[in-house]
Symmetry: C2
Subunit: 430 residues, 2 copies
């Protein structure tokens, strides 16, 4: 077992009391609950069987029955998706993943964020068809049963809405829990058929360069995607976190485009039209484009750039006095693996490298942690992600200077939390 902490262990490696990340592996961070761990009360030593009437009820009678499909404890009923966004027309809006309540890198499917334009279709899988046509040698039509017979792959991948975190463009910092600000991103183990196999089977023409993907929702939502990306690493998602994917995530079939904005991961996929130019649909012209200060607009900005945020401590939570804390957060990049996450407790003057939980995978959430000795004084916490391409998550002022504030989409600036002397935490631009 690891020993107790030494003076050296407690020597900060950056301003504001940030400690060496290796401390987390050493163990012995007993200060983390100094006031939590007391000596055993008489009541507790007595707690050894035989039981006492004072013991909690569940020790006194046999518990509940077996269930065919389990659900969270009733004591966790407040850990839910926060439904918001534009509510008209009906079916057009979002629900947010409560990132502040979660741990690890897997988002439970029941809490995966939602972004629908026309509600959630209730699709009978035996009636659903996927069609691949256009510039192909042999147009193809597949039932779901057909697709389940193809070779499959599994990948842990995040999906993030292109509009996630867009409150960051506001002139004043929004005060919300992390999930209701940045929670249009979730991460699952997706299993499905590599799209390249089906494109091979259809025989794509040499003149083809784009694919128009269409969903089976009432609005027939469609987007144009470069053939090269789809052939490189896209897949037809059939399973999410081990089971068939959920209706709100595209049941029975969803396009999975690793690292690219959520809308390209077309749900309820019914058609792949191979062509030689984009369709210039509503969702790639009127929306999901970004007006720049120059007056020009960025279009087809598919890749989600590297991003990170601290989920604990975070707004809505409260510090419990000067102590050693474990700063926890998430980082991800649409360009590949996260190479490094740094945290700052002095508003970005100095930084300490955070510990990354293995496995660190491309286009997947990476959980980071860093030990912090908070002295009870006002502090500003930040996290900064660097991905394997060398891309570094920008400070907000840099992002705003480059993009202006009309862009609305693809906000990935460094997030700052202010901790005051009362342990209250707020979102600040700093």
């Amino acid at each position: 077992m690891a020993g107790k902490l030494t003076e050296t262990d407690l020597k900060p490696v950056a301003g504001g009391g940030l400690l060496d990340r290796r401390l987390l592996l050493k163990g012995g961070m007993v200060l983390a609950s100094a006031q939590a761990a007391g000596s055993l009360s008489a009541a507790e030593t007595k707690n050894a069987a035989p039981l006492d009437p004072a013991d909690p009820p569940w020790l006194h009678h046999t518990g509940g029955p077996f269930t065919t499909y389990g659900l969270p404890s009733r004591y966790e009923k407040y850990v839910i998706r926060n439904i918001g966004g534009n509510r008209t027309p009906s079916g057009d809006g979002v629900s947010w993943t409560p990132l502040e309540d979660l741990a690890g890198i897997v988002t439970p499917s029941g809490l995966h964020f939602e972004r629908h334009h026309d509600g959630v279709p209730d699709i009978d899988p035996t009636l659903h068809r996927l069609v691949i046509h256009g510039l192909v040698g042999k147009p193809l039509e597949f039932t779901v049963e057909d697709l389940l017979r193809y070779p499959m792959q599994s990948r842990f991948l995040f999906i993030e809405c292109g509009g996630n975190s867009n409150a960051g463009w506001h002139s004043e910092p929004i005060q919300r829990p992390v999930g209701a600000f940045h929670g249009l991103v979730s991460c699952s183990e997706w299993t499905g058929v590599p799209l390249s196999i089906l494109l091979d089977e259809a025989g794509v023409d040499a003149t083809a360069s784009w694919v128009i993907a269409e969903g089976a929702d009432a609005g027939l939502l469609n987007v144009s995607l470069p053939l090269s990306k789809l052939a490189a690493d896209a897949m037809l998602g059939l399973y999410q976190n081990g089971e068939r994917l959920r209706p709100e995530n595209g049941y029975p079939l969803r396009l999975i485009v690793p690292g690219w904005e959520g809308i390209t991961n077309v749900k309820w996929l019914r058609r792949l039209h191979v062509t030689d130019q984009p369709a210039m649909t509503r969702n790639e012209t009127a929306k999901y484009t970004e007006l720049l200060p120059s007056g020009k607009a960025r279009m087809f900005t598919f890749v989600m750039d590297a991003k990170s945020l601290i989920t604990s401590p975070s707004p809505g939570q409260k510090m419990y006095g000067p102590n050693i804390y474990e700063i926890r957060g998430l980082a991800w990049s649409g360009r590949g693996r996260i190479a490094k996450v740094e945290v700052s407790a002095d508003g970005g003057k100095t930084w300490a490298e955070a510990h990354l939980q293995e496995p660190v995978m491309a286009h997947c959430f990476t959980r980071f942690r860093a030990p912090w000795a908070w002295d009870g004084k006002p502090s500003i916490l930040k996290s900064r992600a660097t991905d394997e391409t060398g891309y570094v998550q920008p400070e907000r002022d840099v992002l705003v200077k480059e993009r202006g504030r009309e862009g609305y989409f693809h906000y990935n600036a460094i997030v700052s939390w202010a901790v005051d002397e009362d342990g209250e935490i707020t979102h600040v631009y700093a």
Copy 2:
């Protein structure tokens, strides 16, 4: 994109038509759905908007609402845990994970297997306490809130009941779907506090060698565990697949003992009694021990040895004629990483190495796949796992010779599926 299959690609690497696993990475396994992919019907080409009254209803009206916590499609309502085992006394039994319906390595929490002795306690986390006492310098008592402040780690780990697959000891091969035979094993991303940190804080005496772990169910289920293992890599599990763990999996707190039999992963953990000898409780003497041919019994057989099984094709499923199939299955080992999985289509005469899906992690499910050209003739499929220690999953006759057939626990022999000329699949001893 990958090209079409060549003669070389289709040259078997083992008897019964097993093909080279690299074929799965090459793509172009179009034969897998030769009869599935036809040319586009008039109805399908017509399917481009505008819609036709003949199109399915979900294309004609806005779909369902956003939900705060999602559930599987109603069309998947038969994918459930299969409740079985001894039903008296109430609360004593099992429910099985439907392994044949799942993909990837994550088991959805709602389908994680259950093994309870006294039902599922409905625990109020604010009233729950964990006590560490006995041969320690300072007995400790923790609330759940206290524990949530400690440094955490996340690990993808399987948990397998020591009695899983025990129908394999029967004299005749049981005919059931894979899940109802081998489904007392599941795999989750567990997040919690390394136990070594709390043992350090309590200050374990030099004379201590065992820990008696006790749960907060009505039976106060307890087991004795070597201190060395708990200090090495055990953790207090607080989260499962991202969210707080489910009531049937130990909410609010479970002991996680990587690679060791399920009962050691004590649910609803309330007490860790540090001592210098095992308690010799009912669950380590009358049960969870194995009578050997010699008349002696194996006790404290904690580690789950390497095991694998083919989930598709498997009993209850049906072949769809001579074709190229992807054989899919799961492998795991309580001793570390899976190093290799081999599959046989000729009853074990010859073997081909299967492709292992990354990431391959210690004490975690590993998904394997192998391409198979089935010629329509009777075949016997097997899989054989080898772990990083060099341990090889044994044939059934070898296991039975060593352990006899009264052992009941720790059955991990090679599993054999017979495929007949009609494509029916049965469990056989071969």
